[in-house]
């Protein structure tokens, strides 16, 4: 990391976006007391992560990127043992565990060994585990990577329900749609620095405008024509991306001059912002 500074308000959902190696997970690990920052401070509800990590961690619910469920125990026992680490009395852990397992649709799996769960079930169990201590801050490190759409939507629904109860959420993701769906605010980081910050809609509007025109199988004169208009043109492989300053006008022009040109007009998304600002080069 090369010095990042940010603040999250209670009850806010903030997403950290960035290519591989940008520093998302490192940031999350520092906030969750895994990695002491070499310089600078991180405060969670006013408590310093380096000075009083036990108290900080008591307030956090952490969903790590990797599956670290305990394969030596079944589903319910995973939660019971985890609750013990927080010092929650056993009957109370059991009560919370059962209701959380119902919440993540694992109520009928309480006696299943971890190895028998699908990837989606494991993620849901990890989410339930992170909520066991009734955290004030939930940290989700790529919560839906590798999940099918059903499982992803279930997790989104649960996270939105939690936001409604006032839980603060810190999320990292590679999926722009996820960030747009869940986050009040996104922070795009790259190479250990913050590039951009704002609400998803405002960022899109400010960085790329409202509309994108994608075109393919185009003749040279088509590209030439776009270059003459006001807006930003990007050529990637065989595709053209044009971010017009005046979309309606451009579209009428194109309809008139190149009626047979294959193209797609769509709303600009966070992904356009992301690719524009972090570049298209591969990162790993």
């Amino acid at each position: 990391m090369r010095g990042i500074s940010f603040e999250v308000k209670p009850g806010e959902v903030v997403g950290f976006l960035g290519p591989n190696g940008a520093g998302k997970t490192t940031t999350v690990r520092m906030v969750s007391c895994f990695l002491p920052p070499t310089s600078g401070t991180a405060l969670i509800y006013g408590i310093d992560v380096r000075e009083r990590p036990r108290e900080v961690k008591r307030m956090l619910g952490i969903c790590p990127q990797e599956d670290n469920l305990d394969p030596d125990f079944d589903v319910l026992k995973n939660l019971l043992v985890y609750g013990r680490y927080f010092g929650i009395p056993a009957p109370e852990v059991k009560r919370r565990a059962e209701s959380l397992l119902d919440m993540v649709a694992l109520g009928d799996k309480i006696k299943s060994p971890i190895a028998a769960l699908s990837g989606g079930m494991k993620r849901r169990l990890i989410l339930a585990r992170a909520l066991l201590n009734e955290p004030r801050v939930l940290i989700l490190d790529e919560p839906t990577t590798g999940l099918d759409p059903q499982a992803r939507h279930l997790i989104w629904t649960r996270v939105r329900a939690l936001r409604a109860t006032g839980v603060t959420v810190l999320l990292t993701t590679h999926y722009m749609e996820e960030a747009a769906q869940l986050c009040d605010r996104v922070v795009i980081i790259d190479e250990g620095r913050i590039l951009l910050e704002g609400t998803p809609a405002a960022l899109v509007e400010r960085e790329v405008g409202r509309t994108v025109i994608e075109a393919w199988n185009h003749a040279a004169e088509f590209a030439e024509f776009l270059r003459g208009l006001s807006g930003r043109l990007e050529e990637v492989g065989d595709r053209l991306y044009f971010y017009p300053a005046e979309p309606d006008l451009v579209e009428r022009e194109l309809e008139h001059r190149f009626p047979h040109q294959e193209r797609l007009i769509r709303r600009a998304t966070l992904e356009d912002v992301f690719l524009l600002r972090t570049g298209r080069a591969l990162r790993d």
Binding site: K57, P64, N68, D70, P71, F73, Y82, R84, Y85
Partner: protein, 262 residues
């Protein structure tokens, strides 16, 4: 080190409890080796080797081979059970199962996790020693009540090899690298640490090495307890094992902490 001591807490017991829970869910298979080991040795030594070696001279007295070797087998079990738990098993929990990462997301600190692992590996040595004590008693090979001293001996001896095991866990890059400490440290102790023969038959230079090996001292203490024979070296051995145990436990805390925080 000061920070480590400050961060240690009774929460380490939760880690111990986690490992114990796993152990007791599969206790039927876990209890089998320490039960079977002395029985196998007794058959091998009683029926096989014992036919060749009729008596052993130890501490100026003679005794049959079987009662001589039996306490040595307990000392070896203390070493094996704690070392293997703190090396292979801890490594699996740390590296493959990410169990420590999961625990570190709770109010427990790295120090609690390492101490919990040390205590659990020590406990495994104690469980093995107690089971073997029972089996050997049934065979009439234990002097009572001095035999009960094997429990505190297993505690300090277990801590020593738990510490050594975790130190190796902090150093290896792959699980197969455990072969190095096993063949450089553990196997020489197994063969030359006075388990199978009284070390005073060794040439002077080898004897000097044998007295440096912690297992030699654990074996001496185990023999004093199980045979019920006081040995003048007992206070020295006790001090040596205790000091090395504390040293390795401390080193394990320092090194594992460095490995886990990255």
């Amino acid at each position: 080190m000061r920070e480590i001591l400050r961060n240690i807490s009774t929460r380490a017991f939760r880690v111990w409890q986690r490992d114990a829970d796993v152990y007791f869910t599969v206790w039927k298979t876990e209890f089998l080796p320490p039960l079977m080991e002395p029985i196998l040795y007794v058959f091998a030594f009683g029926l096989g080797l014992g036919q060749l070696i009729h008596e052993v001279h130890y501490q100026g007295r003679t005794l049959p081979y079987l009662p001589f070797v039996a306490p040595g087998i307990v000392a070896v079990a203390i070493m094996f059970w704690s070392f293997f738990e703190a090396s292979f098993s801890s490594y699996v929990r740390m590296y493959y199962q990410k169990t420590f990462d999961a625990i570190l997301a709770t109010p427990l600190l790295v120090e609690d996790v390492i101490l919990g692992e040390l205590l659990w590996s020590t406990t495994k040595a104690m469980i093995a020693a107690v089971i073997m004590l029972g089996v050997l008693t049934a065979m009439g090979l234990v002097s009572w009540p001095t035999g009960l001293y094997i429990i505190p001996i297993a505690a300090i001896g277990g801590l020593l090899f738990a510490g050594l095991g975790l130190v190796t866990t902090s150093m290896v890059k792959t699980i197969s690298q455990f072969n190095v400490p096993i063949f450089v440290i553990i196997m020489p102790m197994f063969t030359f640490g006075g388990t199978f023969f009284p070390i005073d038959v060794l040439p002077k230079w080898a004897l000097a090495i044998a007295w440096c090996l912690p297992l030699t001292h654990i074996g001496l203490l185990a023999r004093a307890a199980i045979l019920g024979w006081w040995h003048p070296m007992v206070p020295v051995s006790l001090a040596y094992v205790t000091i090395t145990a504390l040293f390795f436990a401390g080193l394990a805390l320092v090194r594992m902490k460095r490995r886990l925080i990255q």
